[in-house]
């Protein structure tokens, strides 16, 4: 009975979460927790429901997810292409490696103010910030993956008459995927972080902006409701990544074990 087994496995975890929510509810009602700072979970839930039922949630949710996706996908494309170029061509690597290594230690959050100066408060600035922060782990892991590709695989491509370009995309790229994905997982967290932070600093909309704005305006119920939505977005994006890996790279874990 695999389903039953799964249910039993999940039970303690779900029970724990339920218990925490119940205890919080009791504490707030008993006045142990200041109601002004933390409304009862039931109140947050009903606020959340209002946002969803009223359709208010759709705009900011869509904006944030679109922003994240645009930045992340762009970072992945740039990072993978650059990683392939640097990993396969020593000249390109010699040229760019010192630059990348000297920008890498900068906490990327610090870039946002500069970008705001030059690119304004709009989407261009935010997407640039996300790309700049999240493409580093992708480039670095891709390079590492490319360097680790077994020479036999490359020579196999040569003996079957593939061009250098074809070898890069048909052999080196797929062979580097385990590393590349490791980089993309790190980048995922950074991209989400930069999405929310740039929304907060630009102050022009999105989930991050709403959480901060409601706190500043002391709309505490709304702040928590938006926070819950943001948490769900985080969990959903991570789950989507896991599902995408299973779907598109089914050979990955077997390959790694071998």
């Amino acid at each position: 009975m695999p389903i039953l087994r799964k249910f039993v496995d999940l039970l303690p975890g779900v029970a724990f979460i339920a218990a925490v929510i119940l205890i919080l509810q009791q504490c707030v009602e008993a006045g142990v927790i200041n109601r002004a700072l933390f409304p009862p979970p039931s109140v947050i839930a009903s606020t959340l429901w209002e946002l969803i039922a009223g359709g208010e949630v759709m705009g900011p949710l869509g904006a944030t997810i679109t922003l994240f996706a645009a930045g992340y996908v762009l970072a992945a494309i740039v990072g993978i292409l650059l990683g392939l170029a640097m990993g396969t061509n020593q000249r390109v690597n010699d040229l760019l490696d010192p630059l990348i290594e000297s920008i890498r230690p900068l906490p990327k959050a610090a870039l946002i103010p500069v970008l705001m100066l030059f690119l304004g408060l709009g989407t261009t600035m935010k997407v640039t910030a996300i790309v700049l922060a999240s493409f580093f782990p992708i480039v670095i892991n891709t390079i590492q993956g490319v360097r680790g590709v077994d020479p036999v695989l490359v020579a196999t491509g040569r003996t079957f008459g593939l061009s250098r370009l074809a070898i890069t995309f048909k052999i080196i790229l797929p062979a580097s995927i385990p590393y590349l994905l490791a980089g993309m997982r790190v980048a995922l967290g950074l991209a989400l972080l930069m999405t929310i932070l740039s929304e907060m600093l630009a102050g022009t909309g999105g989930l991050g902006f709403l959480v901060l704005e409601n706190q500043r305006a002391f709309h505490i119920r709304q702040m928590y409701a938006w926070l819950v939505i943001l948490a769900v977005v985080g969990v959903a994006i991570n789950a989507a990544m896991v599902a995408a890996e299973r779907r598109f790279v089914p050979w990955l874990d077997k390959y790694r074990v071998n």
């Binding site: 979460i17 010192p98 907060m200 901060l212």
Partner: protein, 274 residues
Amino acid sequence: MPAVASVTEGKAGGRLRRPALRDIIGGKRLGFWFIVALLLLWELSARSGLVVSANWPPVSLTAVAVVHGLAGGDLLAALSGTLYRVAAGYVVGSASAVILGLLLSTSALARRTLEPTIELLRPLPIPALIPPLVLFLGLDDPMKITVVAFTVFFPVFVNTLQGAMSIESTFRAVAATFGTPWFATMRGVLLPATVPYIFAGLRVSIGLAFVSAVAAEMVAGASGVGYYITSMQYAGRGADMFAAMFLLGLSGYAVNAGFVAIERRLLFWYHSAK
């Protein structure tokens, strides 16, 4: 596998290069000169009036601002405040992560009880945490240190647990054979065997700690490099802003290098056994 290596050596054919030019800009030096060229371009574009803006000061003025900032104390104070919060949050977050990770590795029930909660909290983007924490902890150090600690916690926890679980069977069996008591097993067997994993988590966390500290300083309060950078941006003092970014990057680099050095020393047995 020499036969394999020989396969890659293919393009042995002697490509002729002029040695003089190659010695000056060849190899790694190429990248160095590339950076120099970019900095020159920056300097020239600012000086020649190609880009006229207070936000785009020449590099030379930025260098002057670095010196002034360090000497004058303003920037230095901001930087040391940030470093303090990074350090404090890092210690609190990683210590609690290691302890919880080791504890959870000993009990399947505890893992099943707490893991779903942890998995739900882990993907939460860090900046989202700042507004509610401001309500409870205010705008200053306690809030920011908590933000850093929360950021650092997850990678260290996940790695610690993974490490402790992976060595569980063999090492624990050895310990059990010798009848080692529980606490001694924890400290004497489990902890050292998990250390390489813990360090992997700690290494990832350094960068994250810096990012979250700077983010918290930008969003709330009036202290630290994060705040310094945003206020210089508002004030239109580009040189000071770039100087702060430069020093922040330098600190990030130094802390990372220090960490790697320490890790090498402590984990030489692990790396040489591999």
